[in-house]
Symmetry: C2
Subunit: 178 residues, 2 copies
């Protein structure tokens, strides 16, 4: 019924770094969401899908903590920005590599800001068919303190959203870790 | 990377009748959710997916309104149940027909009860990879009065859930209609 020449389904996948291992390691939840997308949606139909990886970096207010602020020059600022950009690219390389193995076309980019706001703005701009976000699957008590990007996106993103929780055997001792 | 011999992705689709046209017409939102699933996820890969249609019928407390309750016999009850069952089957025929056109394998069944509770219980029992539910996309004010099955499922169903809203040009004058 459906011809393979139609536009591929564009899936935006929001990815972030591991809060425990840091860059360039992906968080458990974004890796889980990505692998689920490959295994359950894309399957063997690589030509039918196009993946859009968005990585949002949260501006680090403590970046100058280890320098004397009096001596922070415009160049220091530039260096920090550059360092963040390179870290982000290394994270995206992980997802690029896996996507390439599957033969799926993809693109990726980095933005800076509040992840939930940025993701919803990028959905508005890029208009994917579907947004996939990982979730730590926190209980109500833990959620109050950390907020959840996925709940915000389900409510506010202007496209269908799918939330993928970490597998029970991959949840770290402290579930807030990722 | 992925061999086509692996188990198909099992997608449960919750479907209901149109609140305006009644049986056997599907609601706008369940038809939209179903067509989205075909066009954006299944695409040309019919063998990679298996659809599970669940239709929940809400017990009709006014079913005896037009008879004298003194004379309602066990047979009257039986007839009403039988009438509901046949109506439900006619609704499911619509989805069966479209799915058959695509060459996708499927199964369907009817349950009775509170749709949001029944859907979550059936997810627990059947363990699909994904649950797709349509949504009328109501504003917060309208939601208070009608409740939304989709929001409940997103929170409580034990599998990934995707909510598909009606297209703006398909929303009836009163958005609570469907």
């Amino acid at each position: 019924m459906e011809s393979e020449s139609s536009e591929p389904t564009r899936i935006m996948v929001a990815v972030n770094e591991s809060s425990v291992k840091g860059y360039p390691h992906p968080s458990i939840s974004s890796r889980t969401a990505f692998e689920w997308t490959l295994a359950k949606l894309v399957r063997s139909n690589a030509a039918g899908f196009h993946l859009l990886f968005l990585h949002v970096q949260v501006p680090d207010e403590d970046a100058f903590e280890d320098m004397d602020s009096i001596y922070a020059s415009p160049e220091d600022f530039h260096n920090i920005k550059e360092r963040d950009r390179i870290r982000g690219l290394h994270l995206l390389e992980y997802f690029f590599g896996r996507t390439h193995q599957y033969g799926i076309s993809c693109e990726a980019w980095i933005r800076s800001g509040d992840p939930k706001e940025v993701i919803c703005n990028e959905v508005k701009r890029v208009r994917p068919d579907l947004l996939v976000v990982g979730s730590r699957g926190l209980g109500p008590f833990q959620r109050v303190f950390v907020g959840t990007v996925s709940e915000f996106c389900v409510k506010h993103a202007e496209c269908p959203v799918i939330t993928i929780k970490r597998k029970p055997d991959e949840i770290p001792q402290d579930p807030v870790d990722d």
